[in-house]
């Protein structure tokens, strides 16, 4: 047990000390290099800053020159206006014509740079999507810079457009990739973005977009009609994993570049949403994306590259998921007005509590609380102090419903094949109370598949009332009588029993189902609640193996009820899972889908709405409301018709930081 300090021990000690010292020295040296790199980085950033400041100066100059030229033009050639600009929205609308007509009348004009050198042609200008941004820049207190921090509640594994499926990806893509036109958030009309103007043929089958010549991708290369065609080809290429987008663009017969800056979309048959697909297609750069093979494109993670005001902070090819944040930076070569924020960041916070603490910690600027949390905290001091609270209905909100299976489980007409029964079911459920108590007031009772703020909804239709007496009478008419045990029995003596299937895992959904069970029990209907895991529920729906389902559909400004209510969608696992079939409705839906004129089409949709209201194939429960907290330092956030002011129009006043 003797421990003698030998020469060997000494050597070992010296060696280990030496190793530690070397490691430390390497470390220190590495840090010194790091410092140097940081300084170089700072220098580059400073230079970039200067360059972009110069760009702003040039932009202003350019603008002034343009204005001057226009003024001169209007003196010398007062009646020139050779090119016909169709100021008309895509879904040609009388109102739009008047609206934009008025704007053209204000005499805003612009010179097409392409015609420089020849006699400049002056064209009346349609309200451009950037006009809104320019207006923001002139607002009092407008400030450039800062970082807008948002939050994601899941990991985004893929940013590559077309092949990514995450919801947040499309939000992020909206900052980076642009389309030919976008919807004005106030008027809901289409306003040109990359396009300058467009024509729609009389039959609505051909859209011709004339594009701006000054649009550039974030690497400086120009965006031309060839890029539009390339994007379309990419979507239609069956080797690209984008079945979802492909199902939209299948309706087009061809997309061709007529010249460098004119592109023509040709439809096979008229479809009312086709303009939206054409104008809203995010345009990808041929030069950039054609470096990759189809397989590389499919497997890529972060190939997000476009002409938008922001770009990925890292080289898209180096982007990897799992970094807990996604960061965009200002695209200094942006062709439009200089983007506001230095950076736009999405932080990944998976836990509900952590997300709300991150917001009250001022670590994030935007927070979408859960309904329960919203009601509990919206008036709390910690939220009131730092946040503006928004609570609103949006026409794109979608709706929750109960779908009544018209057939029984063997495929024969079942009890819900009787319209009176369905109406009775709707009237038995107090949807207002459900919205108030279960959804914490963050829902509005629904009158049909079209949102009451959208153009498709028939303004004369009110939601069915909560009227138990009337429901009782309807059930009696339908042959139901009260049995001995208090449960309703039909004419053949079978008790009124069914189960309501809905997705498990959502406390709100479960509470709603239980509420409905109680409401129906009061008149003697025995409903069982059947909570199913999501994929099980979907397979039950596909097999038509349910009595009633409670689920939701997402919405849009103008939606197509064909998929859900047309009888052609019953077979082969289509979305008309309840096997609802009404020839009148089928005819109306087909008519609406083929109607080019927007006003006319809306009239048909109103009729569709009326039939759906009367038939009640679904009991339309509620439209969800949006609830959001936004830090007070974020300015220019207002409630518009489709929701809040687009985030690209926000700016941050660091001085207002609470």
């Amino acid at each position: 047990m003797e421990n003698r300090f030998t020469a060997r021990d000494f050597l070992m000690m010296t060696l280990s000390v030496a190793t530690i010292v070397v490691v430390l020295l390497v470390w220190v040296n590495f840090d010194r290099k790091w410092d140097r790199m940081v300084r170089i980085d700072e220098n580059i950033a400073r230079q970039q800053e200067q360059i972009s400041r110069l760009r702003t100066v040039f932009e202003t100059l350019e603008h002034q020159i343009e204005e001057a030229v226009v003024r001169i033009e209007s003196i010398e050639w007062p009646e020139v206006g050779t090119r016909q600009v169709d100021p008309n929205g895509p879904i040609g609308n009388g109102e739009a014509r008047n609206g934009t007509g008025a704007q053209t009348g204000t005499g805003e004009t612009r010179v097409e740079p392409s015609d420089r050198g020849t006699r400049p042609r002056v064209t009346p200008r349609q309200a451009h999507s950037h006009d809104r941004l320019r207006r923001v820049r002139r607002m009092e207190g407008y400030r450039e810079g800062e970082t807008l921090t948002q939050v994601m509640h899941m990991t985004v594994g893929k940013l590559t457009p077309l092949v990514a499926t995450d919801a947040y990806q499309s939000e992020i893509e909206g900052w980076v990739i642009e389309s030919l036109a976008d919807r004005d958030p106030e008027t809901l009309e289409w306003s040109p973005l990359i396009a300058e103007s467009w024509d729609i043929s009389e039959d609505g089958l051909v859209y011709t977009f004339r594009m701006r010549r000054d649009v550039r991708f974030s690497d400086g290369s120009p965006l031309t009609a060839r890029d539009v065609v390339y994007t379309y080809d990419l979507i239609m290429n069956p080797r690209i994993d984008t079945p979802r987008s492909r199902s939209y663009y299948e309706r087009f017969e061809s997309v061709t570049a007529l010249d460098d800056f004119t592109v023509e979309f040709r439809l096979r048959d008229y479809y009312f949403l086709a303009f939206q697909f054409a104008a809203g297609m995010g345009i990808l750069s041929e030069k950039y994306y054609s470096q990759f093979t189809e397989e590389e494109f499919n497997q890529s993670r972060g190939l997000l590259f476009g002409s938008g005001p922001y770009r990925l902070a890292v080289d898209p090819e180096d982007w990897r998921p799992g970094r807990q944040r996604i960061e965009l930076v200002r695209n200094d070569l942006y062709w439009g007005p200089r983007p506001t924020f230095d950076r736009v960041v999405w932080r990944e916070i998976l836990e509900d509590t952590a997300r709300s603490i991150a917001f009250t910690n001022r670590e994030t600027d935007v927070h979408a609380p859960l309904p329960r949390e919203f009601v509990r905290t919206k008036d709390s001091r910690s939220v009131r102090e730092i946040a503006n609270v928004f609570e609103f209905d949006s026409p794109t909100a979608g709706y929750r419903y109960i779908g009544w299976n018209f057939n029984d489980r063997d495929g024969n007409p079942g009890r819900f094949n009787d319209r009176r029964v369905r109406q009775a079911m709707t009237m038995l459920i107090n949807r207002q109370e459900m919205a108030d108590r279960i959804n914490y007031g963050l829902a509005t009772v629904s009158a049909g598949p079209f949102h009451f703020m959208g153009p498709q909804a028939n303004p004369d239709i009110r939601p069915w009332p909560h009227d138990v007496e009337r429901a009782r009478r309807l059930l009696e008419e339908a042959g139901y009588t009260r049995g001995r045990d208090g449960i309703l029995v039909d004419a053949e003596g079978r008790p009124f029993r069914f189960s309501l299937s809905t997705a498990s895992g959502s406390p709100v959904g479960e509470e709603q189902a239980l509420y409905i069970r109680d409401a129906l029990a009061q008149v003697g209907i025995d409903m069982r609640v059947d909570l199913l895991e999501w994929s099980t529920l979907l397979s039950r729906i596909n097999e038509r193996n349910f009595d009633a389902i409670m689920l939701g559909w997402t919405g849009g400004i103008e939606t197509d009820p064909n998929q859900i209510f047309h009888s052609s969608q019953i077979e082969d696992g289509g979305s008309n899972a309840i096997s609802y079939s009404n020839p009148d409705l089928d005819a109306l839906i087909e008519q609406a889908r083929a109607t080019v004129d927007e006003n006319e089409r809306m009239k048909v949709w109103h009729k569709v709405h009326a039939i759906l209201h009367e038939d009640q194939p679904y009991t339309f429960l509620t439209h969800p409301k949006t609830a959001v907290f936004i830090n007070r330092r974020v300015q220019n956030v207002e409630k518009l018709r489709v929701g809040l002011t687009p985030r690209q129009e926000w700016f941050i006043d660091a001085g207002a930081t609470p």
Partner: protein, 472 residues
Amino acid sequence: MLPYILRRLVLMFPTLIGVTAVVFFTMALAPGGFQGETEGEAGARTEGTDPRFIRNYYNRRYGLDQPAVVQYLRWLNLISPVGFATSNDVEYTPEQRDAAQALIDGWEPLRTRTNRRRADAIFTFMGQYLDRDIVELTEESLPLLTDEDRILELFDRMDITMHRTSERFNERRRQLKEAEDHAALLSFQLTELELEAAGRARLLLERGPRLKWPSLGETLGREPVIDRIARALPVTLLLNVIAVPLTYFLASISGIYAGRRRGGLFDRGSGTTFIILWSLPTVWVGVMMISFLANKDYLNWFPLAGLSSPEAADWPMLPRWGGEEGFVRGWLLDRLWHMTLPVLCLSYGGLAVLSKVARGAVLENISADYARTARAKGVSEHDVLFRHVLKNSLLPLITVFASLLPALFVGSVVVERIFSIPGMGYMGIEAAFAKDRDLILGTTLIASILGLSVSLARDILYAIVDPRVSYE
């Protein structure tokens, strides 16, 4: 010893097959099977996307509509280092390549920059659908394709095995047939076949098994499973490499001291504390930690989420003082700071079990005959404990360690979720919800390989630590 190890290693294979088979068939035979999540997020479905279109696509892409047994056997073939080649990974001789190339050049309408790859692909699935050897087919089809009537004949032969679903494809084919544009028709049809072939390439059984690179397949997001795991594993490892030794260290020390003075104040105090800690659910503790320790309204001592600060990338490695910015944490310290709460959360629960195990072992040995003999010989109490008793008390701790280690790789679902750390636990739960077949099987496989190797390592360690244990 060696025969024993070999025997154990051989026995691992049936066990692995058993484990993955149970996982696979439980998922595949559950209602909904593997097809659920492809249709959209839970609770709401998106209007405008026809679920049929997407369902068909995924079925074709991943072969999800094949019988479960077939899917599982294909997966086994995929991961096995010895297996059958599929018609997708046939290699061509330069002559075959050129022949195919010549064919492709004849079909103008293929808009592509990658004709060469395409030539490969086309012959791959032609062979697969015609159930013929590719080499044979290449030689045979060249003359065949020169005659237009024969082209159509070839189509008919393909049609027999084809499972056509997409309306658009059918319509387009009809148009081309009417227009008698044979070249376009052929290329179109081939494209369609290729799409269908991706998930169900034919196994070249007639060529016999051979050595190949094992693969874990692809996730639903088209990422190789191995890459996905390689991304998540280091994160989980990092957390556990700190948490596990920490737990062990604290638990053994307190266990030894508690055991030495049984019934003393320290024994009772530490026992009670650890039992209380053990009975606190991690979910609750984690949420409490971020609510109070990472909240500006209370104590803002720790960061909320993630593994490093956004600015950390611009920081030097080591902390430093002075300069313009004053104190800078540095990357290393920042990382440790971010890991404090998750590591605490991961380790506190294990303290109770481990310290009780250590205490029990020490108690048992400290009153053993050999310890008494040592004391009788005049060995100091300190030496009895640390030289004799401790060594013999290691055995149960090793046992516990072996059962702990797999958890180290699989990660903690709860902790990773609460602190937004993208590790194995979170990945596993995501995969299970998304019904991502290959990812689930890949993770299961890796976890069970680890579990089995650790239990083997444990048994070997027994033999090393305790000479009485032998496997001869």
